[in-house]
Amino acid sequence: MAKRPFEGLKVLDFTWGGVGPFQSNFLTYYGAMVVRIESFSRPDVTRQGGGFNPRAAEHAEEFRDPRKRLEFGAAFAVTHPVKKYGISLNLNHPEGVNIFKRLATWADVLVESFTTGTLEKRGLGYEDLHKINPRLIMHRTAGYGHTGPMASQPGFGQTVTSLTGFYTITGWPDRLSVPISSFYTDHLSPLFGGMALITAIDYQQRTGKGQCIDQAQIESGINYLSPLVLDYAANRRELALKGNKCSYAAPHGPYRCQGEDRWVAITVQTDGEWEGFCRVVGNPEWTRDSRFGTLEGRVAHSDELDEHVNRWTADFTAEQVMTMLQAAGVAAGVVATAQDSEEDAQLKAYDFFRELEHPYLGKQKFFHPPGFTLSDATAEIHRPVFLGEHTEYICTEVLGIPAADFKRMEKDGVFD
């Protein structure tokens, strides 16, 4: 069998929330050995929030145990659908710091997502770790980066997104802009960060050189909006919010279908697409209205056109409209709910949402690989690691700490 992309790579994962794990996960999916450091006193927010799962009642006893309760955090199952090793460390104990250092010596890569100072004040900054492991890659992701006036400000996706421009691109002309989702860049910046991380690994394997990478999530986020930056820089123009209107397509937007709050999105740009659209609609008289004969005309009279289209779509389900129009080469898609995605035929063809058994979460079908598929390597999915699940294994087997010392450390509160 072909070697997996990150076979033999050793990764230390000191991340929290979404952005950090989403980056180290790229390595875990494809064969790296990843050791995740956590603590019980400062648990990952995704272990706490996201809504406890409805099976809590079935596991009432475990749920009352504050430590075990952290395994019920459903969001953590989304941020950690991969096989990681878990160690719980008390970094306020000098021996905990020491174990961190030993792991940083063992590792090829350290991925972390704390604000400036968290590691430095414990003697675990890049300068310190570089001395003990010169080939270490230290990949640091933070909302605002590790320099500048906001370096020590923790960043949460909800507020970080605000400083990327992403909260200003969606809205109706007569109302204030609305967010696309609640922590949008948390899901987009890991693509840039993860790509940078793997680039550094590739470089390390070729040259033996380590380095420190500083990802400011706002800077990664802005890189998706470059055309808007250039438009302002060159033309002093700001994006106008247009609701669902588009200057180069009509019909364009969501159209109401059968059922409650059911919609299909349609966009018609070229004359060829318009002809296909008219054919599917059955060439009624309004499609022959000369005002709709050109793209310019359709855009200029899009309100009236939308009324016709809405009257047509109302008689069908969103799936029917999508199928009919796509068969004619017209871009159309169901405005999908989470339930639609669960049943989506395309995602099924890719085995996207996979079912896994978890002792406390039960059987759930929502663990998934990233948005790309490799022909020679499978993304492996696994139930999320428990807090400190492998503390003993990591200490005794990976670091070679004698069993008696480990027991003593346990008693001394080195692990948390």
């Binding site: 909260y167 302002y232 919609w263 063809a349």
Partner: protein, 415 residues
């Protein structure tokens, strides 16, 4: 870091960003356009609003750090030239309709027989297989099927798509990550492979925690909530608070966190509210260590909302930014590119870069690198190519063609 790699970039706007991100780390990316120029050059906005192929700001933004040649791979000569280029390439990126390259006799099997180490990265709306493979994958259709459209917008209006469509940028970046994974595997196996990146799957991944999770666990169907995206459980029911709040001159983002990590944060916030001259009301009596939202009724949560609304309206967004930094409160101004160009954190980090455009006689400000690295650089080195700008450099300099060959190919519209 990637200067040892050569990338042939056949993409349209669905894939521009993939090659650009590799170029940001120094890869030698050669953008291959149809003779006459890539259709992506017709995407606005345009420099000084002149809709010309050499003035598309969209093209500038996502094709910087690439050299450019023209080549029609639909001609037999064009295919042969492309095959010669594949011999020395590490990566080929494409975003044609699935199966198009196979139809031209340039599918993965053929490329791999020329150069077994080559990686073929395909970027598309829905992927290279499955029932949607041949769908028209314009941005809006992919965006709708991803689930983002359904949850964006106001509850009293239809679902809403962004006025800046960007679904395919997510597919392109998935392609870039996949390409790097494939390069790492190649060092272990010696072989290239195919990377199949889908904007649809990339977005379904992104939205997962927001909609898929509540559906999988509690059969909650997340829908449109406008700005009210913070759900809290009051004693007598659920109630929503805004994520984005109005202030004196715009909006700010403030997500009302509670819990053990936010005890001091929320105490500081209440102190600030009082200092501003607003009565913190119900917030004043909240024991942040012990109590959750269940302390309050829905009506009381609404009263807290009004207190916060009044408080934020006392300040401008930049006043709130400065004061929240000083007091370490999780609050940020909602900024557009215009404001971001002046924003202290980005300015101080030297994020913005001036890129020279000699043909336009000026420099334009671009976003800088998406990360800061210790080895080499990440960011813009040079502007996007003009149509066929590097034809001579590559065809003559590398493929040893003569001037006569070039004229000949040009006359036959191959280049």
């Amino acid at each position: 870091m990637l200067s040892c790699y050569r990338v042939l970039d056949l993409t349209d706007e669905k894939g521009f960003l993939c090659g650009k991100s590799l170029g940001d780390f120094g890869a030698d990316v050669i953008k291959i356009e149809k003779p006459g120029g890539d259709p992506g050059r017709s995407i606005g906005p345009f420099y000084h609003d002149s809709p010309e192929p050499e003035k598309s700001l969209y093209w500038f933004a996502f094709n910087a750090n690439k050299r450019g040649i023209t080549l029609d791979i639909e001609t037999a000569d064009g295919r042969e030239i492309f095959k010669r280029l594949v011999r020395t390439a590490d990566v080929v990126i494409e975003s044609f309709k699935p199966g198009y390259l196979d139809g031209l006799g340039l599918g993965y099997q053929v490329l791999s027989s020329i150069n077994p180490a080559v990686i073929l990265t395909s970027i598309s709306g829905f992927g290279q297989k499955g029932p949607y493979r041949d769908f028209n994958d314009r941005d809006l259709a992919v965006w709708a099927l991803s689930g983002y459209m359904y949850i964006t917008g106001e509850p009293d209006r239809p679902p809403l798509a962004p006025s800046y469509p960007h679904a395919h940028l997510v597919g392109a970046m998935n392609g870039a990550v996949g390409t790097m994974v494939a390069l790492c595997q190649r060092r272990l196996t010696g072989h290239g492979q195919q990377v199949d990146a889908s904007s649809h799957q990339g977005l379904c991944f992104a939205i997962s925690i927001e909609t898929k999770l509540p559906w999988a666990f509690q059969r909650i169907n997340v829908s449109r909530e406008g700005r009210d995206r913070v759900r809290v459980m009051a004693r007598d029911g659920q109630v929503k608070l805004p994520l984005l709040w109005e202030c004196k001159d715009g909006s700010i983002a403030f997500f009302f966190w509670i819990g053990p990590n936010f005890v001091k944060h929320n105490q500081d916030l209440v102190r600030w509210i009082r200092e501003s001259g607003i009565d913190p009301g119900l917030l004043a009596g909240w024991d942040w260590e012990k109590e959750t939202w269940s302390r309050f009724t829905v009506a009381e949560v609404k009263e807290i909302r009004r207190t916060l609304e009044q408080f934020f309206m006392k300040y401008t967004k930049m006043e709130l930014n400065d004061l929240s930094l000083e007091k370490r409160i999780q609050l940020t101004p909602v900024l557009a590119p215009k404001d971001l160009l002046q924003f202290p954190q980005l300015v101080e980090r030297g994020f913005w870069r001036q890129v020279e455009h000699p043909e336009l006689g000026e420099s334009i400000t671009y976003p800088g690198g998406f990360v800061k690295v210790g080895e080499g650089d990440c960011g813009i080195r040079f502007r996007a190519p003009l149509i066929g700008e590097h034809n001579e450099e590559i065809y003559k300099g590398e493929l040893q063609m003569s001037t006569t060959d070039l004229v000949n190919l040009k006359e036959r519209r191959v280049i």
